[in-house]
């Protein structure tokens, strides 16, 4: 067995002090030499367990091999034959729990940095101009039309696959910019909008028609789509309905859902106000409530938008935080102050109805609950007041009721998720499939893409064979 190189190339990053001033991307990306060195560590194992860890089955050893042989166009083609959004995935996939977790080198040292290499290949293509696509598996036009609702990762992946299979695809997107959470949620400093734009353009270049500002359930219903000449529908509507805490005072001005806060900043570019005309109020002291990736993104956006102090208020301890370790570290490096084992009880406001403070209690960890995490319980007599002038509530989202409530025959679960077969995405309504956050609740970009891919295969099968998936 050859000696294994366990030195993983670190990701160059902007200095924490510089980051507070800018929305520029934090992770700078590999240089050619570092990328080639990282690629050389891969032993191209024939069993390729890494591929099984990727929900869209990227041919990892093959693209890594092409990279180290300096055949970049080949690397691009191999990558894109399985993943239509590599620049996005290379940046935001939780690789540590997916492909990289299965990498054999990980048993001896640090696994191959698959995500970073994927990003390197995607960025190379963006810098050098589009590589001619590999021949689509079936370029024969099928004469069938498919409607895709939502342009998030699930919808984009389903569309790309369906278009490659020869179907005519139309995406209906309610917002004015495509991308779903990639456009309105994940901030510029983690995922620059130009990357999303380029990869959306790639999907459109496959022949996909993008209809923006089409709110399905309002502008058009699923029934109307199906009687308008579309033979099948894929619902990739995400989980975009914000949840609140239902505490007294929660409607004071200056209290935002994470969706509103991030949408104002990312989609509407409120950090460039007044050149961009959507305002946002970011005071001196901002409290973000929650402990997931969305809370980290909100806190880091608040810092970059001029807040003096940003607190992250979370009711359990750091161990239970659902956010990725990397994001927690980035937030701490940038100066986000963690207020752990703390829970808000009520919000305080001034006579103008704007938030001025938050009454909190301290928590202790008790017995494990159903999720296996120790349950936080209130410490008696621990009430205290935090002075804040902006609050972001980042405690989760659920699927939006608009499409289910206007589509007869579509069953939803008690949590509002659309009921669909896990393998094919077939819903309870004939000719309608669903996948991504709409069926699972908030999950990940790559799991949404995996669901989009599986549904596209089922829809293709249905359209060609004329049978249900």
């Amino acid at each position: 067995m050859p000696r294994v190189d366990t030195h993983r190339e670190p990701m160059p990053k902007l200095e924490p002090s510089a980051r507070r001033e800018t929305f520029e991307e934090v992770a700078v990306g590999y240089e050619q030499a570092t990328a080639e060195h990282e690629a050389s560590r891969c032993i191209l194992c024939p069993r390729q367990p890494c591929v099984g860890g990727c929900p869209v089955g990227v041919d990892i050893p093959q693209f890594v091999k092409a990279l180290r042989e300096k055949d970049m166009p080949a690397a691009v083609r191999i990558l894109k034959s399985k993943n239509s959004l590599p620049g996005i995935c290379g940046r935001v996939c939780p690789q540590e729990s997916q492909c990289e977790r299965q990498c054999v080198i990980g048993k001896l040292g640090a696994p191959i940095a698959i995500g970073r290499l994927e990003r390197y290949v995607a960025d190379w293509e963006m810098a050098h101009g589009p590589v001619a696509a590999a021949a689509p598996t079936s370029s024969q036009p099928s004469g069938k039309r498919v409607a895709v609702v939502g342009s998030g990762p699930a919808g984009l992946t389903a569309s790309a696959d369906l278009a490659k299979s020869g179907h005519q695809v139309t995406i209906f997107e309610s917002l004015h910019t495509p991308g779903g959470v990639l456009a309105y949620g994940i901030p510029e400093f983690r995922l620059p909008q130009r990357i999303v734009k380029t990869e959306v353009e790639y999907v459109c270049s496959l022949g996909v028609e993008m209809r923006l500002n089409w709110v399905v359930g309002k502008t058009i219903t699923i029934d109307e789509i199906l009687s308008d000449g579309y033979q099948a529908v894929f619902l990739g509507t995400g989980a975009g309905l914000p949840q609140f805490l239902n505490l007294p005072g929660e409607n004071y001005g200056g209290i935002y859902s994470s969706n509103e806060f991030l949408t104002r900043i990312n989609l509407m570019k409120a950090y460039l106000f007044p050149s961009y005309r959507t305002p946002i109020n970011i005071g001196q002291v901002v409290a973000v409530i929650g402990g997931g990736n969305v809370a980290m993104d909100s806190a880091r956006c608040a810092l970059r938008s001029g807040a003096r102090e940003v607190y992250l208020v979370y009711r359990r301890s750091r161990t239970e935080m659902p956010a990725r370790e990397e994001e927690i570290e980035n937030a701490l490096e940038e100066g986000v102050i963690f207020k752990l084992l703390t829970n808000p009880r009520k919000f305080l406001g001034n006579d103008q109805g704007q938030v001025t403070g938050m009454e909190c209690v301290e928590m202790e960890l008790g017995e494990p609950d159903q999720s296996g995490r120790r349950r936080p319980v209130v410490k008696p007599g621990s009430e205290f007041v935090m002075k804040v002038d902006t609050v972001v509530v980042a405690v989760g989202t659920t699927p939006h009721p608009l499409v289910p409530s206007t589509t007869p025959g579509l069953t939803v679960s008690a949590h509002g998720t659309i009921a669909a077969d896990e393998g094919s995405g077939q819903t309870t309504r004939p000719a309608v499939w669903a996948g991504g956050d709409a069926t699972t609740g908030s999950a990940t970009v790559i799991s949404a893409m995996g669901a989009g891919r599986r549904a596209a295969a089922a829809i293709d099968h249905y359209l060609r064979k004329g049978t249900g998936g």
Binding site: S174, K218, T219, L241, G253, R277, T278, G353, Q354, H400
Partner: protein
């Protein structure tokens, strides 16, 4: 991109735009609104569907110049384009044969009440319309509202046209009649709707208002438009904008409307300065450039 087919200045500060939007025109119902984004840097603002023509594929919006977006909109002309128009959003107004319906429109709210009065008329109701404005030069669509009403009252704060006073006075008189009206619908500035609610309260007649909180997406994904109705938080863009006037927490609505007052003022002043320094260019090419 949505082409502006026609522009009309209804008063010096209230303007009408007829816009190409076939998909929206096909589905529009009285009481619904659209979200408009003027250009790439623009805010998304809600505007009520004042009219629509499914055959011609057009919708009509009427707006008052208040801040930067509406001032910029006012500069557009026929042939210009709006970058984004999404809709029709919100729940349509509940139209039914109730008997006698009072439709109160204040200020630019007249544009929103007109299609409702028309639909109520078509549904077989006796429509009593009350139209109010600060002064005669702010009145518009008097004939249009009159033509769909069985009884029509116009009133101005300064008495320059019609009766002298505010809309709650004739509203109270109509409510005091025997038999009284079966339903009241009031649309206008939040303060006006609040006082209409107070006026109607002793008469226990169902009173509907169309709330106008600040919105971002208009589709239920942000919560900016949250209002408190009967003690419950509701999203005006999704559950409304129509709500029972007696259940609305008016102070909350008024406070939330003030959230960005400083920033909006700053933005409007900045824009006015820009216009002053380049008046000719602004007037001619804004909008054309995006076509």
């Amino acid at each position: 991109m949505h082409r502006i087919l026609r522009k009309e200045d209804l008063t010096p500060s209230v303007h009408l735009l007829e816009i190409e939007a076939p998909a929206i025109a096909r589905k529009a119902k009285a009481g619904q609104f659209v979200m408009v984004r003027l250009d790439e840097a623009g805010e998304r603002i809600p505007l009520t569907l004042a009219d629509w023509a499914p055959q011609a594929g057009s919708i009509t919006l009427v707006f008052l110049e208040v801040g930067r977006e509406t001032n910029m909109l006012a500069k557009l002309c026929a042939g210009d384009y709006l970058t984004d128009v999404a809709g029709p959003l919100g729940q349509p107004t509940h139209i039914e044969k109730f008997g006698t319906v009072v439709c109160v429109g204040g200020g630019v709210g007249v544009a929103a009440i007109a299609p409702i009065a028309r639909s109520m008329n078509e549904a077989g109701n006796r429509v009593v319309s009350i139209m109010g404005a600060r002064s005669s030069n702010l009145l518009f669509w008097e004939d249009r509202l009159k033509s769909v009403s069985h009884e029509f009252i116009v009133i101005t704060d300064d008495g320059s046209h019609g009766r002298h006073g505010v809309v709650t006075q004739p509203l109270k008189e109509v409510l005091e009649r025997a038999p009284g009206p079966d339903r009241v619908i009031a649309i206008g500035p939040a303060v006006m709707m609040k006082f209409c609610a107070l006026t109607a309260r002793p008469f226990s007649v169902k009173t509907i208002v169309s709330l106008n909180p600040i919105m971002v997406d208009g589709t239920g994904m942000c919560g900016s438009c949250r209002v408190s109705v009967a003690g419950q938080t509701r999203f005006a863009c999704l559950d409304g904008p129509d709500f029972d006037a007696q259940d609305v927490d008016w102070d909350l609505l008024l406070n939330r409307l003030r959230t960005y007052a400083d920033k909006e003022k700053q933005a409007l002043e900045m824009w006015r300065r820009q216009c002053a320094s380049a008046p000719a260019r602004e007037g001619e090419s804004s909008g054309h450039a995006q076509g």
